[in-house]
């Protein structure tokens, strides 16, 4: 036991030394220390590598996304004196001609049809719609001449953001011509170009024109979908967890159910999409009757139901863990004063488990928010211009919107993709942060 060996110090005194100071021991100790050090450095480099990738990811996403949060507008004098335009029809009026005339008026020298056409391409094709929003917000402009901020086309916008690449290349290799550059420079010199917060991006639905495309439709779609998911999976998940943890007898059947719930949590999400397509949309035909079916395609309702299927196992597992972590002594205390089983669960166990249950739900919801594949299966990839107003309206969700935008070749859309990704990441960080806060705030009180 005690590795102590007396050692002669040479000068006659004997000093008792621990035997691990022997050369073999010392060599072994050095080797062990070296191994530990190696392991430490290995772990550290793994962490650094992961951190580097995270920084790289954020760097590219943020770098690409930032330009999309602002946009360049041109101040155009609009002649709103035409008799056809009244305060009543201002919200329905077609402003195309007025916008053309107003913008063309800034360049009175441009006469040729072809030149006029390329000049007009500098403002967004959605400028007429933007003019409609502006005028219907400022009805007293009707009957006057007003200076109105209208969105530039994406090429013009990108020119001012200096994102069109090397402009010293020959004209034929650029997306913008020398003449267009000259026009834009002239507008800038006149002080008609303004860079502002890109409200269109935050308030619009999908659009073919990148400068008119926004994420609001997808945000609302995601929100509605998650509401359905939460409303279905939370009560069912918690009830299931309570039953399994507190009431179910421990036998083969419940063991089997438990194993299968754990398996379901690991099933690839696209399988749930197939399930949703089969049951909610098409219905299962048994000959004499059809099970399910008839759910609206590409609607938040159906998407939410599919994601609820996907989230349910996670929800049950998290809730069970939370319920299990409530100490048995609390149950005994309640039962001991004569509370019934149900009272024990609802008065004591569930309130104590709630922070854990909520944390689990938030994490489940965060996963559902980031999910794309199962929603592709039920047709939530449709090109949806209108903001969904109800659960059965066609809708899309943020990750699917990102997926669709990523497919468009225009540089403008590349930035929208990055911006939408950044917003999605923001939501996810927010939700996970909330979960962490909840967890640390309500950690064990007994």
């Amino acid at each position: 036991m005690t590795d102590i060996a007396p050692e002669n110090m040479g000068d006659g005194t004997t000093v008792t030394r621990l035997r691990h100071h022997s050369p073999e021991r010392r060599a072994r100790t050095a080797k062990r220390f070296a191994a530990e050090r190696r392991f430490k450095y290995l772990g550290l480099s793994a962490v650094l590598l992961a951190a580097a990738f995270l920084v790289l990811l954020l760097w590219t996403v943020v770098g690409n996304a930032l330009p999309a949060f602002t946009a360049h507008y041109v101040k155009v004098p609009l002649d709103l004196t035409t008799e056809k335009l009244t305060k009543e029809n201002a919200a329905d009026f077609n402003y195309r001609k007025i916008v053309r005339a107003g913008f063309g008026g800034l360049f009175p020298d441009v006469k040729k049809r072809r030149e006029k056409r390329s000049l007009n391409k500098l403002v967004s094709s959605g400028a007429a719609i933007a003019a409609r929003w502006e005028v219907s917000d400022n009805l007293d402009w009707v009957g006057t001449k007003a200076e109105v901020l209208l969105p530039l086309s994406d090429t013009a916008d990108l020119y001012f953001k200096d994102l069109l690449g090397d402009l010293s290349r020959p004209e034929s290799e650029r997306t913008i011509s020398d003449k267009e550059i000259a026009w834009l420079k002239e507008l800038d010199e006149q002080g008609r170009i303004e860079r502002t917060w890109n409200t269109i991006f935050f308030s619009n639905g999908a659009s073919r024109e990148s400068e008119m495309a926004g994420i609001w439709g997808a945000v609302v779609g995601s929100f509605l979908t998650l509401i359905v998911t939460l409303a279905l999976s939370f009560p069912v998940g918690v009830a299931g967890a309570i039953y399994l943890e507190e009431f179910a007898p421990k036998n083969r059947l419940t063991d089997l159910i438990e194993v299968n719930i754990n398996n379901l949590a690991a099933v690839p999400s696209i399988v749930f999409g197939l399930l949703g397509l089969g049951i909610f949309i098409n219905g299962v035909d048994f000959g004499w009757f059809t099970l399910g079916g008839g759910s609206p395609r590409s609607a938040a309702l159906t998407g939410g139901m599919v994601l609820a299927l996907m989230t349910l196992p996670t929800m049950i597992i998290a809730s069970r863990a939370a319920i299990k972590s409530v100490p048995p002594s609390i149950r005994e205390a309640a039962l001991g004063v004569g509370a019934s089983k149900i009272q024990t669960v609802f008065h004591h166990v569930l309130p104590l488990a709630m922070p854990g249950v909520l944390t689990g739900s938030i994490i489940g919801m965060a996963r559902a928010l980031g999910e794309t594949a199962p929603l592709l299966m039920i047709g939530m990839v449709a090109f949806i211009v209108d903001i969904p107003g109800s659960l059965s309206d066609p809708a899309t969700v943020l990750p699917v919107q990102i997926y669709m935008w990523a497919d468009f070749p225009e540089i403008g859309f590349q930035q929208k993709t990055a911006a939408a990704t950044l917003i999605l990441l923001g939501f996810l960080v927010l939700m996970n942060g909330l979960a962490v806060v909840l967890r640390s705030k309500f950690e064990r009180r007994w």
């Binding site: 007898p249 421990k250 100490p327 002594s329 609390i330 149950r331 005994e332 205390a333 309640a334 039962l335 001991g336 004063v337 004569g338 509370a339 019934s340 009272q343 008065h347 004591h348 104590l352 009180r445 007994w446």
Partner: protein, 268 residues
């Protein structure tokens, strides 16, 4: 002499005036394993009955039969007969909720609810509907805390969490919580084993006072404690009751050699 005659008459008429709980041939099985073997014990009213014996001999198991806390353990099976005031507590017509209101329990480790002191005591009366209105409930809380000897220490902070009290105070809070539903019997499973000597003395004193109003059954591993607080003692050994009798008898003049060697500290 009179009581003897009374007892004989009661026995003859099938009633035991002097017995609060009567246990006959109680056996308990955890799955296949037998933890109690045909135990017989009579518990006298308004007295403290101590259950002593080496650990693992089934004291807690027996105690938990008396208010059917064993029902909560899936694998646990109880046979035999336990009467509370001549009513079989395992009869299908008996509701465990009512039973546990009559037979309260205090556990080994103080286990107040993570709620306010007031809520801890008020919870039982509330779920049993013992109080009409807030004022009456507050009265019950005050009375229970006074009986548990805790009132003076907590009356100014009834809103503070019960888990913030000291160990001894927590245990007295648990006693107040049990008292609040006005039980007739209070079961205590080593109520002082988690407390320091001073808190233990306070609780022991309290138990002695409670005897005036309640029948108390207490499991203890401390011989001195059993001698100090109890009038009756039952000695458990390996799932059997080896000896029962008045505490004085058992401690001064044990009949069974196993009891004697346990009391003198040779087995334990």
């Amino acid at each position: 002499m009179d009581t003897l005659v009374d007892n004989i008459i009661a026995e003859a008429s099938g009633k035991e005036a002097n017995i609060k709980m009567r246990c006959r041939d109680v056996s308990v099985f955890y799955a296949e394993k037998q933890a109690l073997n045909e135990v017989n014990l009579d518990i006298k009213p308004k007295q403290v009955t101590a259950l002593i014996g080496p650990s693992g001999c089934g004291k807690s198991t027996f105690l938990r039969c008396l208010n059917r806390m064993n029902d909560t353990i899936d694998i646990c099976r109880v046979t035999g007969e336990i009467l509370l005031d001549n009513e079989d507590i395992y009869d299908p017509s008996i509701d465990v909720v009512d039973l546990r209101a009559d037979v309260g329990m205090v556990f080994q480790k103080p286990n107040p609810f993570p709620k306010s002191i007031y809520e801890n005591v008020a919870y039982g009366p509330r779920i049993h509907g013992l109080a009409r209105g807030k004022a009456e409930l507050t009265q019950i809380v005050e009375k229970s805390l006074k009986r548990a000897g805790l009132w003076e220490e907590v009356k100014d902070r009834l809103d503070e969490p019960g888990t913030g009290l000291s160990g001894g105070q927590q245990q007295r809070l648990c006693i107040a919580r049990a008292i609040a539903v006005s039980p007739e019997v209070i079961l205590m499973d080593e109520p002082c084993s988690a407390l320091d000597p001073i808190a233990t003395a306070v609780v022991e004193e309290l138990i002695d006072e409670l005897r005036q109003n309640y029948t108390i059954v207490i499991v203890t591993h401390s011989m001195q404690q059993a001698a100090r607080v109890s009038q009756e003692t039952a000695f458990f050994h390996l799932g059997n009751i080896v000896e029962t009798g008045s505490t004085d008898e058992i401690f001064t003049n044990p009949k069974d050699p196993r009891t004697e060697s346990y009391i003198t500290g040779r087995i334990g």
